[in-house]
Symmetry: C2
Subunit: 399 residues, 2 copies
């Protein structure tokens, strides 16, 4: 524009405009060094403008970008977005997702430590495909079989006998052949386990406080990233409503004529409707669904004292989608063995875990959260894959 150049510059803190009184020999995506003055500029989105004096090119592109990074709008197809991940991540709209993810990790760590939890790291290479599930990846481990952990469950329970309260942030591997918008085959779990509880409500109360701190951190530190997605977060209730799963099923049948059979888990559409019902009834985006049927829960879940077909297992739903699963665990050896027998779970390779229940384990329980699911739901992303830097699914192993 008549010898004046307007350039969009971007660093880790965000994007702003630079103005030069000369023409600039740089092109899109170059890495540059600029000498100039930062001035307040209310008309700019960032509130600032850079009045450039000199520009040096540190490194330049030798090929054309497959898309325009300069436009604020960036609505690529999911496949294009993910196939070109190393470059699409450079767009501020995509960066915002992972800046918020960084805040999530920081807030979870801080909240857990404030609650008296010790951070642990448990192995991901296992001798036995445990927990009764079939969805394990198999590894060749020096000529024998090993399996990738599909949760730190057994180890974090053992650690309750060591540190009372433990948490872990770690890789979770699920060999589920899913093609959905809410599953990936590798994700980061936010796990916790706590001992000396009176019942499962000690767990939901702790999780309630932790979630509240995470959401407060999103609002305090992540305002600009939420804004990219037009999101304004409400406060997490001091006491998130607790509803028995069986009662929630009746409610959505009566209110929305949606039927989910007794004794089963709930499907995504059912979850969505429960979310709607909770919003209408309690004005809450969150709900703890409690007392899941024993049939739908792993063998280590503690059964309800009043009804053996129900457990002290729960899910936490946010805006109609599960973001955490948890529950009280069976801490006595004999009923634990009975539960395994009833579920037909082999004890093979699990002695290291089962034996610990002969040594005075206290009543305990915990949760596992999908870190990426939280971000997906908070930003309203179409797929959880958008909240994973380099997602893995049945077809996708690269980039």
């Amino acid at each position: 524009m008549g010898g004046i150049s307007f350039v969009q510059v971007q660093d880790y803190s965000g994007r702003t405009q630079a103005v030069f009184e000369t023409e600039i020999p740089s092109k899109m995506g170059d890495a540059v060094e600029i000498i100039g003055m930062v001035k307040e500029e209310p008309r700019s989105k960032s509130g600032f403008e850079l009045q450039g004096k000199e520009v040096g090119i540190i490194s330049t592109s030798v090929e054309e970008y497959p898309f325009d990074l300069a436009k604020p709008k960036f609505d690529l197809q999911l496949t294009t977005l993910l196939d070109n991940r190393p470059l699409s991540l450079r767009h501020p709209k995509v960066q915002a997702i992972f800046k918020l993810y960084d805040i999530l990790l920081e807030a979870y760590e801080a909240a857990m430590r404030e609650e008296g939890f010790t951070e642990i790291k448990t192995p991901k290479l296992l001798e036995a495909a445990s927990e009764g599930g079939a969805n394990f990846f198999k590894i060749d481990y020096f000529g024998r079989n090993a399996y990738l952990a599909q949760s730190p469950q057994l180890y974090k329970q053992i650690m309750v006998g060591v540190f009372e309260r433990v948490f872990e942030i770690g890789s979770v591997f699920r060999a589920e052949p899913h093609f959905t918008t809410r599953h990936v085959n590798e994700y980061i779990g936010l796990d916790a386990e706590m001992g000396f509880i009176k019942d499962y409500t000690d767990i939901t109360a702790a999780l309630n406080r932790v979630i509240a701190k995470i959401f407060r951190a999103f609002t305090l530190k992540g305002g600009q990233y939420l804004k990219e997605y037009g999101v304004e977060l409400t406060e997490v209730p001091e006491k998130i409503p607790h509803v028995k799963l069986s009662e929630a099923k009746i409610k959505i049948q009566n209110k929305y004529n949606y039927y989910v059979p007794e004794g089963t888990d709930i499907d995504p559409e059912g979850e969505r409707l429960i979310g709607r019902y909770i919003k209408e009834e309690f004005n809450s985006d969150f709900v703890f669904l409690t007392h899941y049927p024993f049939e739908t829960r792993p063998f280590y879940t503690m059964r309800s004292a009043e009804n053996k077909n129900e457990t002290y297992g729960f899910d936490l739903l946010y805006k109609g989608m599960e973001i955490a699963t948890g529950g009280q665990r069976e801490h006595l050896y004999a009923p634990l063995m009975e539960n395994m027998k009833e579920k037909n779970v082999s004890t093979k390779g699990l002695d290291f875990y089962l034996n610990v229940f002969k040594f005075a384990m206290p009543p305990h329980g915990g949760w596992g959260m999908g870190s990426e699911r939280i971000i997906q739901q908070v930003l309203g992303l179409g797929s959880v894959k958008e909240a994973v830097l380099f997602p893995r699914d049945v077809k996708r192993l690269s980039p």
Copy 2:
């Protein structure tokens, strides 16, 4: 003792003595609930004593412990210690290791954020056994081969093009058939990568500051755990000495008559002697060994401008053992491809990584640290396996 009972009680915060004026119906390892008064007691190790009024047994052991948890001394054979891990972890001496580990994780996260790094999580399931190494575990991934990441290297470099400075705490898998005291096949890496550096000394300076903060946290928060091992930490030097590897080799040959050939990596005994030399010469427990030979470093390492056989790769040694490896990386496409050719590394499956160097990557570099190695060296543990909750080696996949 005449109707008076002395009981050792322990919770997540440590161990102390409880005194009851009656006999107590509890035995070793029981989980109990005690009502009583905490009193200062200078003669006790913890500085406190619990004057018990009532005791309730929450959960009891149904088998005999394989060792005595009550004795302050706890020097089991490594095999016994690890075979009985769920119970041996309950001893305060063992707990101290993992309390210090918790402090390490917290301090690393905090220090990295203070340095402006964004926390990331990169995939551990890879399409190609990359980086030119052979030490990958192979997985069956829905009927095709995949590999477990032996470092987040390629992904963290890509992320420099996104966030300038990134760090990751994550699982690292190495299929190395080692039988040593300093290797395990699965560990937690403390990784970092930073862009827009002037040269590799920007990286060593950042790592220097981060290590100093970690050691300060050990001293401030971990005093009681260090004491269990009779350790008193000295301050990390404000500027850790930098010595060229080739010069260090000459020094230890002249001083200790120990010969390491030119152009090779250094062996453990050589590392130990360099540690000794640095301690004698600079009174430092730390040293950056710089300018490793290109032959010993991965293809992505930047070669020295003065000597093509040397690189800007370095190791950080603490008390004569490597705790971090790092370096400046090649950020230009053409020399990167030449390096691969020279090292005979296949580009197959690496396009996603190589292509990013066509799009203006800034000069950058970083490091990887073995979290467990740091704890091993700080506490002077005989094996790194003692610093892993549930270690994995060629023979050990359980507990």
